[in-house]
């Protein structure tokens, strides 16, 4: 419960800050859903206008690289990211709004490594929808 409150507070804070930028064509991503991936970081850059992340997955479908996009450095920092939190070789769990065309990967809603967590999250399904919507608003700069 505490966690939910914390993440919802974060969502509200992000909403209040209105932190976002209209760099993305948000139509590429389905913000009503979130897909979770756990893999190893192959490439990462906290840059503007938006971050870049490639992870290597190794599961029943085999070994492959999956690409993600996400917020600007500024909005990542507002979402809790700090320097050194994501490094090549780290194990990372990413919650992402998936690509609409079915390609694996998507738009990072939240991510976690052993160094920490950033973004928006909740364990409740109804909150996930709100979090996806808030992430979309940030991605579009509204």
């Amino acid at each position: 419960m505490k966690q939910i409150i914390r993440t919802m507070t974060l969502a509200v804070a992000a909403l209040a800050a209105g932190a976002a930028m209209a760099h993305h064509s948000a139509v590429q991503f389905d913000f009503t859903r979130q897909v979770s991936y756990t893999g190893v970081v192959k490439d990462f850059a906290a840059i503007n206008p938006h971050m870049r992340l490639v992870i290597e997955l190794n599961d029943e479908k085999g070994k492959r690289e999956v690409r993600f996009e996400g917020h600007s450095t500024n909005n990542m920092y507002r979402g809790g990211y700090r320097k050194g939190m994501v490094k090549v070789g780290d194990t990372i769990t990413v919650n992402a709004a998936p690509f609409r065309d079915g390609t694996e990967g998507g738009y990072v809603v939240s991510a976690e490594t052993k160094e920490g967590f950033f973004g928006l999250r909740s364990s409740r399904a109804q909150d996930q929808r709100a979090i996806g919507e808030e992430t979309r608003r940030q991605a579009e700069g509204r």
Binding site: G18, A19, H23, V27, P49, Y77, R142
Partner: protein
């Protein structure tokens, strides 16, 4: 009696001084210095109006439709390529990032976090000679106070069909800034009423209102953007010439003594 007169004269002088101070206080404009973020809701500006919603001329409509045909559904936008939002988009939302206002009597400086866009609003003699005003995405801004209302007039804008509220290089923008009470959290609200006049693009003035809420002790974050493109360029050049990339420590060999 003489003494009383002196006392009375003194009292009159004190009252006059008080009145004068009160008048001066009343004349002093409000101080907008601080960091501001988009307030709860705003009308217009921060959402993309449908082409049909803007009072476009046939010329303006054709230009905007051509732009949208090219870019809709793609990742391409000025911000994607590290180009600042420009007026009026910077003032209407700046991608919903915060802004900072630094107010001096002769100049107000507005810094938008996104792309670190800067507008300088000059007052009176501080204004640049007209021939020195370089056209740009945020134009040239001149300010004056009408009581407690800051009036900013902006021209010298370049053609920006890539804005949510697109315009030609003939556009003129008038903003009226005033304090508009406080929100539920007790934060000051800064209201901006904007009128854009551009007969090339619009059949009538475009009017929008934006509200900003003060962020107590707020700080803007630095917004670096083009560096990635520069690093990519250097990597590309190094590869083309078959030489080490100086930004990649692993590819540079160090001579041993």
């Amino acid at each position: 009696m003489g003494r009383l007169k002196i006392v009375m004269r003194g009292a009159t002088a004190a009252a006059a001084a008080l009145l004068c101070a009160a008048a001066m206080a009343a004349a002093a404009p409000p101080d907008f210095t601080g960091v501001w973020t988009t307030a709860g809701s705003s009308t217009g500006g921060n959402s993309s109006p449908a082409t049909g919603a803007l009072p476009l001329t046939p010329y303006g409509r054709a230009r905007l439709e051509a732009y949208r045909k090219l870019t809709d559904g793609t990742d391409d936008s000025p911000g994607r390529w590290c180009v600042g939002t420009g007026m009026p988009g910077s003032m209407l939302g700046s991608g919903a990032y915060p802004m900072e206002i630094i107010q001096r009597p002769e100049q107000i400086t507005i810094i938008y976090e996104a792309h670190t866009e800067v507008r300088r609003v000059y007052f009176g003699d501080r204004n640049a000679p007209p021939e020195d005003r370089i056209p740009g995405r945020n134009g040239y801004s001149s300010g004056r106070w009408e009581g407690d209302v800051l009036v900013v007039e902006t021209d010298n804008l370049v053609d920006q069909v890539d804005q949510r509220t697109p315009h030609s290089d003939e556009a003129k923008i008038i903003e009226r800034y005033s304090l508009d009470g406080k929100d539920a959290q007790g934060r000051r609200i800064l209201k901006v009423e904007m009128t854009m006049i551009d007969p090339k693009f619009y059949t009538q003035p475009v009017v929008m209102t934006k509200r900003w809420a003060e962020v107590p002790n707020g700080r803007l974050l630095p917004y670096e953007c083009p560096e990635e493109m520069w690093l990519d360029r250097i990597a590309e050049v190094a590869k083309e010439r078959g030489v080490p990339n100086p930004f990649n420590p692993d590819s540079v060999s160090v001579a041993k003594d």
